[in-house]
Symmetry: C2
Subunit: 359 residues, 2 copies
Amino acid sequence: MAARDSDPTGLHRVLDDAVVLPQAARRLDTRPELWPDEVRIRVEKLNLDAASYRQLERKHTAGDGSVDHDGVRAEVLEIVGARGKMQNPETGSGGMLVGTVEEVGPESPLGLAVGDRVATLVSLTLTPLVIEDGLADWDGRGEQVPCDGYAVLFGRSIAAVLPDDLPTDLSLSVMDVCGAPALTARVVGEYVARSSRGVSVAVVGGGGKSGSLSLAAARHAGAGRTIGVVPHEQEAALLRATGLADEVVVADARNPIGLRDAVTAAGGPADVTVVCVDVPGCEGGAILATADRGTVIFFSMATSFSAAALGAEGLAADVTMLVGNGYVPGHAGYALELLRDDAGVRGLFEGRLTHEAGT
Amino acid sequence: MAARDSDPTGLHRVLDDAVVLPQAARRLDTRPELWPDEVRIRVEKLNLDAASYRQLERKHTAGDGSVDHDGVRAEVLEIVGARGKMQNPETGSGGMLVGTVEEVGPESPLGLAVGDRVATLVSLTLTPLVIEDGLADWDGRGEQVPCDGYAVLFGRSIAAVLPDDLPTDLSLSVMDVCGAPALTARVVGEYVARSSRGVSVAVVGGGGKSGSLSLAAARHAGAGRTIGVVPHEQEAALLRATGLADEVVVADARNPIGLRDAVTAAGGPADVTVVCVDVPGCEGGAILATADRGTVIFFSMATSFSAAALGAEGLAADVTMLVGNGYVPGHAGYALELLRDDAGVRGLFEGRLTHEAGT
């Protein structure tokens, strides 16, 4: 059926003239017929990226502050119709989706079966998507979008089967950040394997979703001392109550000297520093909080590549700096295990969901 | 003498109200008196960052295309006078300098002695600088700026003594990119130590300064196969003639599928991929050219953090991605050794200097 062979990256569904990957494409081919290595999902819900939803809401806010939620809904439909994927042209971001496997191509390597209820862990920015119900069940409010339609996964996509023992929203909330604990565990494990003394790990933004999971992962991987850095006393109290960190310190991550001194006072500098706060300007402090030959893992999308590279050079800091790759094999299952095993993590996540639902 | 204690980062010379590192500061304290861990350099030449010089030249170009070089000179003087450092407010970049050690504080850890002729390997963007001759010997043309004045190095700064056996311009040209071969050698060496088969290394931009040194470093560190990727046949011929790479392939690094296929055809995917080309959009191709559990080292300042992070996630690629830290202890000496030991590298660098001098 297909004029061209499939490529595991989804290249065969790019309709642009230039050779670009699906994420960079202007428009994707959304035909429902599958190439042999693809999977089709019947969509039940889209989770829009928070930055994307906020931009749409701002754009459709009138001078008197009232929001035209029908306008927001119409624009999501328009974007998906025009591009064949949900990628906000302003923010460049997408989100994820929940649905049920409808058809599995004979050569799909993803290990999914028809009927599996899954969340996609690759971005909507590269996922062919067709909305079939005109978003009739969505009022244009909030990032959770009930939706009937279908989406296509490629050979190299990732989807995780939703577990039966946890509420869907809780699982999604964990899967959203599951790359951080998996990579943290791997890096910390490498230090533990080659070190005879205790390995120290500092997590900047330790009270957040990816931060609290990273603290749990660091301890699980054998860290001798975990340090959680939070922006204010209120969050410090919450994090202390969970017992996830050996030390909890309050510091402004954008103040390099303040962050360095806080981590040092808590038993640092850290062998591994994990940056989980989405504010710009944390590179210098993270570098200074890290020991010679230590590693900084940047998970924040607010990280500036040049600030990190030039910052380390300017400080003559011999640290390894990792771009936080959101994909590590088994990451979703590992993060869910951490949540199940640690009442502190689970409490933070459940508290956040309750809080969000209540606002 | 000093009201406040010195900090190895140079924080004590920041005159801004906010607590920021010298690189982020608006203005630095340029007093010639040293804190105990500082070093003062008598400056003989500034090497402006290429992007910075081009911006200044563009700004002072009239409608008829003529350049007001006196205006360029005046603006460099103005910037250094106002900020106490040479940091182009538009590009944010600086450069480096050459000079002679004039005074060494009793607690300086840099290992320098009065009279040493050195190049600073930390950016001018964080180096206190005073120009004393009004740049009288500079005509405002080109990035090389003869200059009499002084500069200050902090406890954590880096300066390399210029070797006697090589021309100054050649040494500077090597030192400018010396972080890349040092980090490449370290990473490749780790793969070689734990692998029983030959380790393959692809260098994207293998014909350039940092690229050719990285190819030499990869082989020196024990790589079993080195692949140089260049943008066109002319550069391929130059690189082939040096013998630095086992395979030389031509590919557009911005075309992810093209880059993947070229490296694969040359014996890849690579265990280690080194990105040395300063063009945006190379993240996807570098990720796809790299083997599962391989490492990508990004040295290009055109690298987008989010494109790398989201790209790897979108491709379900389990690769380690490093921010190319320009500082590795001993990096300048190592790069100079590679140049001395390899006629191919030396030929490329000398050819480039001759070419630049002739244009």
